[in-house]
């Protein structure tokens, strides 16, 4: 059944944009020489859906008061956010090559005061949800209509502070808050279920008073359906568990936790870009 929220043609457009985002991501990571690869690739589809369909925002006016807020808790995947911000027009695409370099606005982990539009400073895990909940509480006090989105990793579900924030959002029934957990099952030291088992994750959130949805994080249509459903849930915050493949789009990286915190070498990047530009061999020549 087709989505009632988005046309087939728009979905195809978004899929092409997500592929372009992955290319820009690989190029920027190679240039930076450090950073995370797997997580940002895995979230490319979702970030594309956010910046080109879901978010009410204005790249020319990043401080527009009525904008939706996207709080990125796991700041280490910020490269993919930077890519989508650049593609959306927040800053020139060429600036992506400054990632992690001295004087850049594109810090290794995002900083609010350096770059308008990132909404908050983040990186240390377990800290985004509380901030998003505070934002949501404040906005509700003033009867604001915008939504607050918070993206988290699955690894940061280990953090005690995360659960303090889960309790808080449940207690205050923050229905203007939609949280997306990037459920890619990896963290630095291995798979989440080996490092510190998280399951049953859905039941945990439900028991704290949340509405929980699950979606394939690479199916833009299904993800958007979930985001729209969340808007119709009252009296509860909504969690979307987005099942993603870390490193999605590049065979060699997919599902390999060793790619969590390293960038590709120049040699690898060449190969990866070829894979992306030929859409995995579906087309013969690179669409440069």
């Amino acid at each position: 059944m087709m989505s009632q929220y988005i046309s087939e043609q728009k979905i195809e457009e978004l899929e092409m944009k997500a592929n372009e985002a992955r290319e820009l991501l690989i190029e920027m990571l190679v240039e930076a020489g450090s950073g995370h690869t797997a997580g940002p690739l895995g979230m490319a589809d979702i970030f594309t859906a956010m910046y080109f369909h879901v978010l009410k925002h204005n790249p020319a006016k990043p401080d527009w008061e009525e904008r939706d807020r996207l709080i990125l808790s796991n700041g280490h995947i910020t490269p993919i956010r930077y890519v989508l911000m650049a593609m959306a027009g927040y800053f020139p695409v060429g600036e992506l090559k400054t990632l992690r370099k001295l004087g850049t606005r594109l810090q290794g982990h995002p900083e609010r005061e350096r770059l308008s539009g990132v909404e908050t400073t983040s990186g240390p895990l377990g800290s985004g949800l509380g901030q998003a909940a505070g934002y949501a509480f404040g906005a509700r006090m003033d009867k604001k209509k915008f939504r607050i989105y918070c993206f988290m990793s699955d690894g940061e579900q280990d953090a005690g502070a995360t659960w303090e924030s889960v309790m808080f959002a449940g207690k205050y029934r923050l229905s203007n808050l939609t949280v997306v957990i990037d459920r890619n099952n990896i963290q630095i030291d291995g798979t989440t279920e080996n490092v510190m088992p998280l399951e049953p994750l859905r039941a945990k959130y439900e028991s704290f008073g949340w509405h929980v949805l699950e979606a394939d994080g690479h199916n833009i249509e299904k993800f958007i359906d979930a985001v729209e459903e969340a808007k119709a849930i009252h009296e509860k915050p909504t969690l979307i568990i987005a099942h993603t493949i870390p490193g999605k789009g590049i065979h060699q990286i997919e599902n390999d936790f060793k790619w969590h915190g390293i960038p590709p070498t120049a040699e690898q990047a060449k190969e990866f870009l070829h894979e992306l530009r030929t859409l995995r061999g579906k087309i013969k020549s690179e669409h440069q």
Partner: protein, 325 residues
């Protein structure tokens, strides 16, 4: 002699005794009346931290957070980022102790206007013992860029500091004590964040203090005066940004310094004074404060004496500082 500009109480030997935390209670209430952006978050210590009056009057602006200081700092960061003026209240051992990283990254680095009210600071917490006696909070907050750090000396100054912090637009830490302590200032005493106040003028030694021990400093100065030693006593309530001008000027006049604080001597007011003077006008300095020890149970006044922060200890430190000139 007592600086008339300081407008202190008339009889320093007979002060009224009121806890500093009451000043937080009345200050945050006043701030809340003035500005509806003021919100208060409390970690299951509403009565103890004197949030109750605010919570009763402004129930829609009071957030009960439960025993969750890390989340309290995070939610406050989000509220401030949105445009509110949040005060977070707990004991200083937990906030800014337990939630230090959340304050560092999400309030100080993020540079959002959250007010951290650290209660039950110092050994004067008394019977609760070392676990609940914050002695490192000034140091923790002072090393954070963007953070303003204020240590009021009595309930009146505590109220003024709380009201002033509400409108300073910066991340701010304010330290409050639990037990009844001497009220030495009056409503007419000047208070500006960042401006140290000379309580007593003298030429032989500068006693630079903060918090409730300033009363002991004034008593020590009065007694030393009878020995012919004239102490300058400075209320350095703002540890950061520190009033370099007043401190340097006094050091030039007296040639030696005693720092007085109910805090570890490492990293607190004394360190801030030493950092200022060593770069500008180095003079001998003695440190009255906790000498790298934890506190323990006892009555407030007993503990102050036991840990050598009483009047006699300040007098001895003053004599020693003078002898090193």
């Amino acid at each position: 002699m007592i600086n008339p500009e300081a407008k202190l109480i008339s009889d320093i030997n007979n002060p009224e005794m009121v806890p500093l935390r009451d000043g937080f209670g009345s200050g945050v209430f006043e701030a809340g009346e003035k500005d509806e952006r003021v919100v208060v978050l409390c970690a299951d210590l509403k009565e103890s931290t004197r949030c109750d009056k605010f919570a009763d009057k402004f129930s829609d602006r009071f957030l009960e957070m439960g025993v969750a200081e890390q989340n309290m700092a995070l939610v406050a960061s989000g509220l401030a980022n949105y445009g509110k003026i949040p005060f977070i209240a707990s004991y200083a051992t937990f906030s800014p102790g337990r939630n230090n990283e959340q304050i560092r990254t999400n309030i100080a680095l993020n540079n959002v206007s959250v007010k951290i009210a650290g209660h039950h600071a110092g050994v004067s917490v008394g019977p609760d013992g070392a676990t609940h006696q914050a002695l490192e909070d000034i140091a923790l907050m002072r090393v954070l860029p963007n953070m303003v750090v204020i240590v009021p000396c009595d309930v009146i100054e505590a109220r003024k500091a709380t009201v002033a912090a509400a409108s300073n637009g910066k991340p701010t830490y304010i330290r409050y004590g639990r037990e009844k302590s001497p009220v030495i200032t009056t409503e007419n005493s000047p208070f500006e964040i960042g401006e140290a106040l000379i309580l007593r003028e003298g030429k032989d030694v500068s006693i630079i203090g903060c918090g409730i021990l300033l009363h002991n400093a004034l008593l020590a100065a009065e007694e030393l005066s009878k020995e012919g030693i004239e102490c300058e006593v400075i209320n350095c309530h703002t540890i950061k940004p520190i009033d370099e001008k007043t401190i340097i000027k006094s050091a030039k006049k007296t040639g030696c310094v005693v720092s007085v604080e109910e805090h570890q001597i490492a990293g607190g007011l004394g360190s801030a004074v030493a950092e200022t003077l060593s770069r500008n006008y180095p003079v001998p300095q003695e440190y009255v404060g906790m000498q790298d020890r934890f506190g323990e149970s006892g009555k407030a006044e007993e503990l102050i004496e036991y840990f050598e922060m009483g009047k006699e200890s300040i007098k001895n430190a003053a004599r020693k500082a003078i002898s090193r000139k």
